[in-house]
């Protein structure tokens, strides 16, 4: 958030609010789709997110059975990088602000 403080004839002073909308932690969430294979989804979790086989399969099953799985939580910039990579692999994925952290 940017606020401008008036100062007569002098140039406006810019004050940056450190708690911007994008600060804090973000969840990368993969949503279920009926097309992509379970083995394909697990492989992507391992490749993109560096998960172990058992962790990748756990998240894959969550996507399949619950319709979604939080696969990563962290800062916005890295979350966007992961999101882009998951989109590149044609997975249905979104970002959500993590309110619990």
């Amino acid at each position: 958030m940017v606020s401008f403080i008036g100062g007569g004839s002098s140039a406006p002073e810019t004050v940056l609010d450190e708690t911007t909308e994008l600060s804090g932690f973000w969840s990368v969430i993969v949503l279920n789709d009926p097309v992509n294979l379970m083995s394909y989804v697990s492989m992507i979790f391992k490749r993109v997110l560096g998960m172990s086989t058992s962790k990748a399969e756990k998240h894959m099953r969550e996507v399949h059975e619950l319709g979604r799985s939080v696969v990563w939580i962290g800062e916005r910039e890295k979350a966007e990088t992961y999101l882009y990579q998951l989109h590149e692999w044609h997975l249905n994925a979104i970002l959500e602000k993590n309110e619990s952290t």
């Binding site: 789709d33 009926p34 294979l37 399949h64 966007e80 882009y84 989109h87 692999w89 044609h90």
Partner: protein, 148 residues
């Protein structure tokens, strides 16, 4: 995996390739999934989609190369290790498009479980489903080789 070779009956596969050809052309223009940028900024969203489309075009080009004229002559399609990711992603994009174009009449649950009565399919659905299964089999084979 250094190189994986698929040997297919061209006579059986040709109608499936003809079915997916216009879908592949469409995939040069439209993204396979409705994924959007997390950014509300229009310019950033545009960059996001354009970059994804550039990436997707490479995936589709890898599939087109796999089933080129040489394949039609020999029935042999080879995937080199360095192209495996492109082919895997290309297969996913094609399958997503087949689902949207030819298999839209079926519920997600039916498609996921595979509990479909092929006897009830019309011609377009039958060929679409065969192509859908072919590209899935290719993905399964490539993944199994990559994970050895």
């Amino acid at each position: 995996m250094n190189r994986l070779e698929f040997r297919l009956d061209t006579k059986s596969v040709l109608p499936l390739l003809e079915h997916v050809k216009p879908l592949m052309e469409q995939l040069a223009i439209d993204l396979a999934t409705p994924n959007v940028s997390p950014d509300n900024d229009e310019l950033m969203s545009d960059f996001w989609s354009k970059d994804l489309l550039t990436s997707q075009r490479k995936d589709i080009a890898a599939i087109a190369e796999l089933f080129d004229d040489e394949f039609l002559d020999t029935g042999s399609a080879t995937v080199d290790e360095e192209d495996a990711d492109l082919v895997l992603r290309g297969c996913a994009a094609v399958r997503l498009k087949i689902r949207e174009r030819s298999l839209e009449a079926f519920s997600d649950e039916a498609l996921e479980s595979g509990e479909l009565d092929i006897e009830d399919f019309n011609r377009d659905q039958r060929i679409g489903y065969a192509a859908y299964a072919l590209f899935a089999s290719m993905q399964e084979l490539i993944i199994s080789q990559l994970e050895l």
